[in-house]
Symmetry: C2
């Protein structure tokens, strides 16, 4: 099932222009395009759009939303829980403002003056901002190597659907090739050769993968369960094996 722009727009209550815009900045590219050039949105796209609207509601900028959603290993469920907390805080803030309004009304009726500080207390966003920062920082920390991350974002924004599948296929091919040679041990020349290609692949497709970053990636593969699970799916123990191989590779240079 696919939907045209206006259908989506009406369904979710945003303007067509907004969808065009999201397409332009690479925040929400429709899964396919009709022969006439019409945007065709899939159910997946709708889910992603829902994500975006959640983030918007929380006051994230579109760029921030994109960074978070695009983050490899982005976990919808985890994100939603975080959203919920932020929303609840927003609600609390609103409740504060409401009681502030009530106080102000009372003050007018009573003819008394309000304290300057208390007048503006409700508008203090600092608490919410703190949370937002935490959320964004977490992403940076985990997937850090910040400059690389940014560079990657820029590059990948241009990619089409086809580019992505091609890149993923290359990556998977390398993974499986390494997996098939696991019994030879991590220092085996053929394994090392594949590791070198893996690094090259990253540099080509995403960002300049320095040795430092490459090492970091190796650690990431075993330290972040989400990566580990993904990689070990190909072959159990592959994640740890990869880190070993990467370490050896880096030490040789």
């Amino acid at each position: 099932m696919s939907y045209k722009v206006k259908e989506v727009a009406d369904m979710v209550g945003v303007s067509v222009r907004t969808l065009h815009h999201y397409d332009q900045i690479g925040l929400l590219r429709p899964e396919s395009v009709s022969p006439a050039g019409y945007r065709l949105y899939s159910d997946n796209d709708l889910e992603r759009l829902q994500q975006v609207l959640f983030f918007k509601e929380l006051g994230f900028s579109l760029q921030e939303s994109k960074d978070i959603i695009n983050k490899p290993g982005f976990d919808r469920k985890e994100a939603l829980s975080a959203h919920k907390n932020l929303l609840i805080e927003k609600k609390n803030r609103l409740e504060k403002i409401i009681s502030n309004v009530e106080q102000t009304i009372g003050a007018i009726e009573g003819g008394r003056q309000m304290d300057k500080k208390e007048m503006f207390e409700a508008f203090d966003m600092s608490e919410i901002e703190r949370h937002k920062e935490k959320y964004a920082e977490e992403a940076e920390q985990k997937y850090g190597h910040t400059d690389a991350f940014r560079e990657s974002q820029k590059k990948t924004a241009q990619y089409t659907k086809e580019d992505w599948t091609a890149i993923m296929n290359q990556g998977n091919e390398l993974y499986t090739r390494i997996a098939s040679k696991m019994d030879r041990g991590p220092e085996d020349p053929q394994v090392q050769e594949a590791v070198a290609q893996w690094r090259q692949h990253i540099t080509n497709s995403f960002y300049n993968c320095t040795l430092e970053i490459f090492r970091g990636l190796g650690d990431l593969y075993v330290n972040d369960e989400r990566f580990t699970a993904n990689i070990d799916q190909i072959k159990p123990g592959l994640a740890r094996f990869l880190r070993e191989a990467i370490n050896i590779y880096c030490n040789k240079l």
Copy 2:
């Protein structure tokens, strides 16, 4: 007691730049200015700023806020009640979104698909927008003559504090002059002369006061208690007298 920009900024949690901006667009001009050109905000200004922040919280544009607050006869208490209602609706909307998030989480856990419509229900702002419109419309209705109202807003935005007092003094002088001649009846030449000057005064200071608008103003004076109260303060019955005199004036042309 007066406060400098940064004091105000820190007190209410907005940036200095924001206050500059509000000054520039005439939304919040400090009551006075130091010899060196420093903005000096009064307690009154702080109250007005609070108003502005309330409106902002509700999603009104600065222009809209300005229109509403500047509206002659703007009633803070009445406005605050309206705010409260809008805020409560916003809160309801947030609660909807929160439960939507919860549902989505549940859907992910259960592995089932969500209905497209229900996915976006929470984001529907239409209810809030309807309220906003009502609020704005009420202003238009009451003080309507829409084009004139807009033109007036544009013109008056440029006025300095001194301009305002000058204009108000002229207006009051005309009011009292007419009041002093009330016993002669509304068709008296001197009264009619003053009415003509009154119309001229409006045209000069605010907007091109057509006959139609002028008639409307006359009606407004007796139909809106806030105006009636204000005018009758000068002399009881003046509001009705003015409408009579304006009617006669308009019929002659």
